[in-house]
């Protein structure tokens, strides 16, 4: 009886903060429509950290931008993007503005360019507070900024500084403090550790993990680095050519990959300190397919060491291989 209750609590009772349902995003270009995301289903619950992994160009950043409807005007979105149950795609502008940053916020990649160069970081952290809580006292905003900076391990005196005066790691912390400003339930971190050196990467990840635990929020971390995700996520979703190819508990995915692409991705990583390896996983020859002319069948087949004739005929469905572990590969589970 008691055990049953716990199971129910784990699977259903926990609040779903982000629910992507057969989400597809297509960019309209001069060369015709280019699909970037194709039929992705994904959920993030409160207190859960979900990692999205994949090479650049696999659609993971586009996925992040749809959470707050920030995709460029040339993109057509189909499916549903439910943030705390409300569909972002069909939402009215007023509702959308209210949801942005207060309901969900984004830690952008490359914090130097994501911060306004001519405003002090304090002003930039305080801006969403003033927007979403009109009429708030200046002194309270100042107090909140100090508190936020302390939460990410920075001295409140940094508030008066400009982005170019901070180091890369400090800027990323400012970005995180900014994302927390309106106490959102969901945080999307888009490549939060790219361009940082390994020591700083670990520190920034530490800050993120601690915040999820302390504030009980849900988080989606996007990265090309599977080892980063393995250490800080509960669940990992691997994307290739706009589709989910594997999903499962973080450590299981990293240590014992089912999909050959995931295997190549995780084999590429623990080599610390070689920046080139982060962009082109070793042991993975070739490039991701050109999204304008994708091969028929499995998109990964041309690069796959295990590909057989059947792989080039139909695109494999994502199917549950073991309890809680899903993969889109016809060769997984073969005897």
């Amino acid at each position: 009886m008691a055990e049953d209750a716990i199971v129910v609590d784990e699977s259903l009772g926990s609040e779903t903060l982000l629910d992507l349902r057969s989400l597809s995003v297509t960019y309209q270009t001069d060369q015709g429509p280019v699909p970037a995301v194709r039929g992705v289903d994904l959920t993030v619950r409160r207190g859960e950290v979900v990692g999205v992994a994949g090479e650049s160009g696999c659609g993971k950043s586009t996925l992040a931008s749809t959470v707050l409807r920030l995709q460029p005007a040339t993109a057509t979105v189909t499916g549903e993007v439910l943030v705390s149950g409300a569909d972002v795609i069909t939402m009215r502008w007023g509702e959308l503005r209210a949801l942005r940053w207060a309901g969900a916020s984004i830690v952008f990649q490359g914090a130097l360019h994501a911060l306004n160069p001519v405003q002090s970081v304090g002003a930039q952290i305080g801006e969403p507070i003033r927007i979403h809580e009109p009429g708030i006292e200046d002194s309270e905003v100042t107090a909140r900024i100090s508190e936020l900076l302390q939460q990410v391990g920075l001295s409140p005196s940094r508030a008066a500084m400009y982005p170019h005066q901070l180091s890369g790691g400090q800027r990323q912390r400012v970005m995180i403090a900014m994302a927390l400003a309106c106490r959102p339930a969901l945080i999307v971190a888009d490549e939060p550790t790219t361009a940082l050196d390994v020591m700083v990467q670990a520190q920034v990840l530490g800050v993120l993990e601690k915040l999820v635990k302390d504030l009980d929020v849900g988080m989606m971390i996007i990265s090309h680095d599977l080892s980063v995700l393995a250490s800080s996520c509960d669940r990992i979703v691997v994307m290739y050519a706009g589709r989910v190819v594997e999903e499962g508990p973080a450590h299981a995915v990293f240590d014992r990959a089912l999909h050959p692409y995931t295997a190549a991705l995780s084999a590429a990583f623990p080599r610390v300190g070689d920046p080139a390896a982060r962009f082109a996983p070793a042991g993975l020859a070739g490039d991701p397919p050109d999204p304008t002319s994708r091969p028929p069948g499995c998109s990964f087949a041309p690069r796959c060491p295990l590909a057989i004739e059947a792989c080039r005929e139909a695109e494999p469905e994502l199917r549950e291989i073991e309890p809680g572990r899903w993969a889109a590969c016809i060769r997984v589970g073969e005897p």
């Binding site: 984004i106 952008f108 306004n116």
Partner: protein, 348 residues
């Protein structure tokens, strides 16, 4: 898109932001100001030297060019040389030139027989009035046009505004002035064809001010159109640069309204290069006014220069050139200092 001429100037003279940490404002800005002031002084020194040599060294005998057929006999020529000290060695002439300059003595006009400095002071106010009003109008309209064009890029307004600006940019401003005279003065008879005052109207009465306003309407319109083409194009291109930046996406993600994203973030940053171009243009007061003042017979510095050209009245030309250069250097300095105030990145 890149805009020729002044936009190029802006992009190359604008101080480049430097990365790395440093102290906030205060001493950083003071050092920056000091550096810029020293640079301006060096430029001024260069212009003073150039000014001297331009008129004395360029081709052979200055007296012949200065006199240009005015001297019938050798005695006349020698007398002229003695009067202007042109028979002395070059270094002596240079020292005299520097000494005179220090006392504000720019020589005497060959045509008007009055000190050049006095002539310049008399004409300066008119030019400043003409260029000042035009600059303010052109800034407001041009920046507004640039913002609207860039924010709705490719729209109807953008196509008209950019097309119009490019056409205006390609047009000699004095030709536009001639058109205005033909249409609005001669054709419709709305405005006088030239000058600054009507005969018999007291310039210091309300009627006189109205009279001056009527006289200035067409020249101001001409200069405004010439300037605003520049400002609209540079504002458009720098705003387009900013719109592509990631911090604009951050601002949108924060839940700001479109207008807030535009005004608080994108426009604020795009104004930095535009400010430089405008400040530099203000420096080219004399230059900009030369042709327009000539066409409309406005008695300012520009007309003084073209009149001197016909005589040729060399000391006036030299004085006008000196004032023109000093104005550019000052405006350049002002642009740099302003930029340092607006952009925290250049201070450190």
């Amino acid at each position: 898109m890149t805009i020729p001429a002044s936009a190029d100037v802006a992009s190359v003279t604008t101080p480049k932001p430097r990365s790395g940490s440093g102290s906030r404002s205060g001493p950083g800005y003071r050092g920056y100001v000091l550096r810029k002031c020293l640079g301006a002084l060096a430029s001024l020194a260069f212009m003073i030297v150039l000014n001297f040599f331009l008129f004395r060294v360029l081709p052979g005998d200055p007296a012949r060019t200065l006199g240009r057929g005015r001297f019938r006999t050798r005695e006349q020529l020698e007398a002229f040389n003695r009067t202007y000290g042109l028979d002395e060695p070059l270094w002596r002439q240079f020292l005299t030139y520097l000494g005179n300059l220090a006392r504000g003595d720019l020589g005497v006009s060959l045509r008007y027989r009055v000190p050049v400095s006095q002539l310049i002071m008399d004409r300066l106010g008119t030019t400043l009035l003409l260029v000042g009003i035009s600059t303010i109008l052109a800034t407001i309209i041009g920046v507004w046009m640039g913002i609207r064009s860039a924010w709705k890029r490719g729209g109807l307004f953008d196509r008209f505004s950019t097309g119009g600006s490019l056409t205006l940019y390609s047009m000699p401003e004095w030709w536009l002035g001639l058109m205005f005279i033909a249409v609005f003065s001669v054709g419709v008879g709305l405005f006088p064809t030239g000058g600054l005052h009507s005969v018999g109207v007291d310039p210091w009465s309300p009627a006189g001010w109205l009279d001056v306003a009527r006289h200035l309407a067409l020249p101001v319109a001409t200069l405004t159109l010439a300037y605003l083409a520049d400002y609209a194009l540079i504002m458009r291109s720098s705003l387009l640069d900013e719109i592509g930046e990631e911090y604009v996406t951050t601002a949108r993600a924060k839940g700001l309204r479109d207008v807030q994203v535009r005004d608080r973030h994108a426009v604020r940053n795009a104004l930095l290069p535009t400010t430089t171009v405008i400040a530099l243009n203000v420096g080219f007061v004399v230059t900009g006014a030369i042709t327009v003042e000539t066409v409309f017979s406005i008695p300012g510095l520009g007309l003084l220069a073209t009149e001197a050209l016909k005589v040729p009245d060399f000391w006036v030309l030299q004085g006008a050139f000196l004032v023109a250069s000093a104005a550019v250097i000052l405006a350049n300095l002002a642009a740099n200092l302003l930029y340092g105030l607006l952009d925290p990145r250049v201070r450190t």
